[in-house]
Symmetry: D3
Subunit: 305 residues, 6 copies
């Protein structure tokens, strides 16, 4: 097989992705000791890269990792990585720009590795637009697993780091029952928390509701939705929400970097609303498309033909 | 620098450790989605390898990872890895034999990597005997951080997996105050749980006390200590223990694969007992040395001269 | 339609079931303020009726209900109800004998009802043997919902009373995803608790494991299984069990009054064990059949032909 | 005794209350599987019937019950039930209009019952005005029992359903000590939650305080009080309140559909304030009377002469 | 008024109790920073003084207080305090011997106090035998307040220290409702914990039940009762007990240093058992009297004539 | 040594501090049953004495203590105590004015004490300005201990009472590791709560953050800081804050009656910000100095020369 021509930044150099290999004793692999962030492009342009990189640096600070690159350099290298890979994009595709930083290599010291400090990788990863296209047509099937989100006092969900087993195992439990289901974890009090890489929104009586930000990764897309709602005059409440709220909601949608916002069709098997998307979701979607200058819904749906 | 001559098993082949490099999008690195186990050698012979590999397979089962190797083959390959590296050992050294299994590579598919299934690595890692020698002379300084151990309902501590940030961040908080301190995390109820890779034992009124096994990784060394105590007629209780128990304990020690058992000299800065090791710890240490056929205390102390 | 010829005891009289009608303001209907118990027959003979009625009287005591009947009379009336309905049984059927006691009627007093004290009903309800026959062939599919069992400090699960919405709603969430699934609720700590009217057993390393009795309704069948295990020399532990235990279990089964014990084939979609039933489950089943003098497995399977 | 001439709606027909009898195996009676709501009349006119019926339909949605009647028909039948019973009212009385919906009958199918779907009942129940008259003169004695309100993650208190044993048993504990005491349950965090069918309000430093709505049934009367306070320029905070807040409160009152708002004279035996009602309570009471066009205080007190 | 002739030990000297005055800035008064213990006499002889003083020294160790007196000297001074006050005892009385140790005085240093180290007091306090005599005739009325016992992770109840407001305020809530009631606090899980200075025992089906010792002050009398039960062949279980266990218990009693063991007549207003004391309580009482060589029941009852 | 000439009010009389001695069986000493409050002077004038005395009376109300003095008299006596001691102040010093009230003496009644009601003391205590001067130069080192703050449901932290062992033992754990560290306790959810006598503030992105007031003693200085921030146009949020917030904060400071506000230099060993004080802290400090008319920073720093 010919390897993809995409290049990634790896500890100071750009190289084909296939050559980005890390010592097996890198702490991200041994211990999950690393942080990352992902920014989406629209028509090949990064959206809110600065907010994502700021969050990355907060994650690194929480994790006590000094990646060795100043903020501005990380920004510039991210843009450069995108510049180098942009020519490979077609109209129908877009990228995640990912920065991935490990805490370094836990080496004995005699293995012969030439770099044991933090591994810094910047990549462009094609978005799974075709694979997820049906979600914009059919809506997402959300299911709450029995496993709660790790409580913030044990490890803060507000840092984006390589610790996903809580969410992965919860997701596996759900996917074994329904391979199309997306897990939405509750927090330990029974309130809606978050999915793996996404935030939940409810619409009830015309008001937009979303969980408070302390026990979740407060997404940039979540903030964007709230901002758009504000500009559209839709009331927003960040508050504790539970299964009762979900049962009586009129509409529901998921916000994430890659999907922006995408309707939910059922919650624990209960049909949500009557149309996909519902009217408020539709207004917010239109506002989002306006803001990013890219009809991401159409971008997805075009793959279904 | 000349690389160490140790070899490791990597997806079907033996090779120098320096060549064991994994794609940066391996799930162990991206998500901490992997499991491992470590067995100690004494005089170059593995101790209770079977128990460790059984625990590894339970961890894999919990994580839904099929490593592709049957149990017996994993045993044989582990022994073979040891056989190949044993000649490099001196009298004063020993190994951890480590099996490390990832959930595979989250690849787009076009990167050109030739293996995207679970990465299977078996290695021999020299024990840090010299670096930790002083612990057997001075005892370990144990400190309880404010961060509790992740509760089992979010992610079971009984699986040995690549998810250490809860313990690492808690340990960082302690080590910034005292670089020699070892963090011992409490569980969410305030009971003693475990340290990063070790179990705690208290001696009070001649009785050996250790936390119950549900919220900790129940170590093979922990089980060995309990077995030895039984054979010595020392009463053992697996029970809830808290800061009051620690404050009034007569002796305290840590059990881990590499250290076997090692005395604790202070707990949250309070001196524990009057001698290092205390009398019951000493009896258990002697029993442990007998069982494994290696004076691991002397092995450590010899490095101090 | 011709009504069934079964008769029930209702406040002092025996009458056709169809005539057992209660004022809509009976507290069992208004508030769920009532208690009940169900005993199984084997070949038309009640098994451990005394234990069930004793549990009923403990439930009534907890609920502050004085049903007006002394214990012995309740026993005698239950046997009489069975005697009157036994002729209707065939070889392939059996009954639940149910006692149902409300706290009385919350009446204004002028409605004209002639009885406003506790309503006392004793009935014989045919077991759904045909409908559940496949479970003994295929095993039960157990799923843990996100809703935890009501904690004992709010309302003790040890009383058998008319308050099932916690379990029913949790069960609905599961059944919407898989109509054949049986919900097994966790307690608030994430430990396995109970299903609606059934208890869970795990077999791990030859040891029989089941949740402790404080946060569940400790079934008479559960006690019977434990007793049989004892007589067969199988070690039993009543202890905290969680999703890790379930993931690594060798066998699993459900105990309930009607099913006695019935194998579990999957847990959250993971296949359990390799045979249905597993070897320990099989021995316990054989012991149970011996004890009750009725091959309840065959009784079920016979309906599949 | 001659039965009361009141009629109730029962599954499509109006009939005397005494004839509203339900099969003993109706799920509301067996399992507490049903929902209801109660609206108050003032001078025989329903107050905020729409809000109550909307809440009923949210409760039904949460409980997965389809009552078979569209919302508008439920409204119309409720008004008709009131119309039919209004002539029986005197000046000094008023009604609760109650809708009571079960999940249907858990029947074997051969009993001969002609209706096994959800039982739908609409009734007019005279308010216990005479019996509670003294509360407006003397104030309510509130006591907090040791049993906490069922947490929302187990079963949401926001649905009005036939599951009262948590509150009834807590209330029994209080009433055995003082038959006049009203139980006010705490939530699991120790915050004030709710009483059986009523909400609590505190006045402290001129500010009106009441528990947040997630863990309670947020009453229509509670909303009415908040609305009135707003129109009177009284600051309102929906917030966590605990025993400290209660101990230092200047005034306290209960809001419920039937009582509207009624002063609390003591809390756990501590005298509250110096007058019954206190000045803020009095202003709110006056505002409530204005809004509903009925002096419900006088309506009660008139029975004391 | 003439002061009592009792003398107390105070920082090295014996003096009349009225002269034992401490600086207002003693840490026991400012902060509740002090520990104590109380031993009972029978016919003027101390019972299990050693166990009580051992517990005192464990309390001091937990609190980081060095009282300046070796254990043996504390024993000797306690006996001497008793010797000096014994002549004042009549047949019908007995003492608490109390050791009270503060953490010292938080002084500015210029107040002129001659002693600012830990204040050490040893006293003989007459038991309130007459005042409590009726409890042995009528039984104790136990009530569970809404305030839970402080959790051990915040402050261990196993140290006997000057921090009683949690229990005092909980007790006040109960005593305002019924001045004769004794508060029995639950722990945060809803299990029975302890009263102010006493432990609870239940008898159910002939088995003696008492809460586990981690979240309570495990009394010397509690240990004595357990020891006596063992010698009488009565099965004892230290386990989690809740309101359900209390509701269905056959007998109940309180154990404390001063009362030894004393029957409970009601629990949250429910009558317990049929006789005071019940048969098992009676056997244990007889065993206790035998062991201490003093009929403490008669000693109390004699004051009722 | 000559005793200090300061006088204190003690139960109706003014006397030298050295003569303020309380019976050892005063409930504040026996049980920690007492309340107090402390007001700071600036240039010898009390600041917000009224707010402090109001809080004292709320504490007394919560504790069920009637101190026997009306509010106005307590105010007047506090001012008089200050008047009598003011001549002893120099330019560089100031006082805490303390009111200390016990619940009275738990006396047998024959000891001969002439006063057994609540002991009421009013004192002037010199502030430890010299001893703490370095904190304004170096900043405070804050450490979070493993012991959480006592939850409000067990005992409300909003009353200022003699129950400090939870905070003292937590502080001891921290001070044994670093004698200069100040303990900042978390609440049971892992949110920042309070230190012994002080409140924490964070600055993040220009916004001032501080924990909500329910689970802490909401200080008068805390309220003053919030008020000043408002007047300076700095946004303030009272919200849940955890270790993640602390890790990513730009500035941090402590507010307390004596220190007013004082910068934090490190949190769990992590350096906070780049300057001491940071820019927002500096603006608030300037505002505080303006409001109280005393440069408390200079007052402290002057002692360092």
């Amino acid at each position: 097989m010919t390897a993809a021509p995409r290049v990634a930044y790896f500890n100071g150099r750009f190289m084909p992705e296939r050559e980005v290999l890390i010592p097996y004793r890198d702490l991200s692999a041994l211990r999950g000791y690393g942080a990352f962030d992902l920014t989406r492009t629209f028509h090949g342009r990064a959206f809110r890269l600065k907010e994502h990189v700021e969050r990355l640096y907060r994650s690194l600070r929480y994790l006590d990792i000094d990646c060795g690159l100043p903020f501005d350099e990380m920004m510039a290298l991210s843009e450069e990585t995108l510049d180098r890979n942009r020519p490979l994009l077609t109209e129908r595709d877009d990228y995640w720009i990912g920065q991935r930083i490990s805490a370094g290599v836990q080496a004995i010291g005699d293995e012969g590795w030439d770099h044991v400090g933090p591994n810094v990788i910047i990549e462009c990863c094609p978005l799974p637009i075709a694979r997820r296209a049906h979600l914009f047509r059919d809506g997402i099937q959300v299911v709450t697993p029995a496993t709660p989100r790790t409580p913030a006092r044990a490890l803060s969900p507000r840092a984006k780091m390589n610790q996903y087993l809580n969410m992965i195992l919860a997701g596996n439990d759900v996917k074994r029952l329904n391979p199309n289901a997306w897990a939405l974890l509750l927090d330990e009090t029974g309130n809606l928390a978050e999915g793996e890489g996404n935030n939940i929104f409810l619409v009830s009586g015309g008001v937009l509701l979303t969980p408070r930000s302390q026990n979740i990764l407060p997404g940039i897309s979540r903030a964007t939705v709230i901002e758009i709602a504000g500009s559209l005059g839709i009331e927003v409440r960040e508050t504790d929400l539970d299964l009762y709220d979900a049962a009586v909601a009129d509409e529901m949608f998921i916000a994430s970097t890659s999907l922006c916002l995408c309707p939910v069709s059922s919650f624990n098997g209960r049909r949500i609303g009557t149309a996909i998307p519902g009217p408020v979701t539709q207004r917010l979607t239109a506002g989002y498309i306006d803001m990013v200058g890219c009809d991401f819904v159409q971008q997805h749906l075009s793959w279904l033909q």
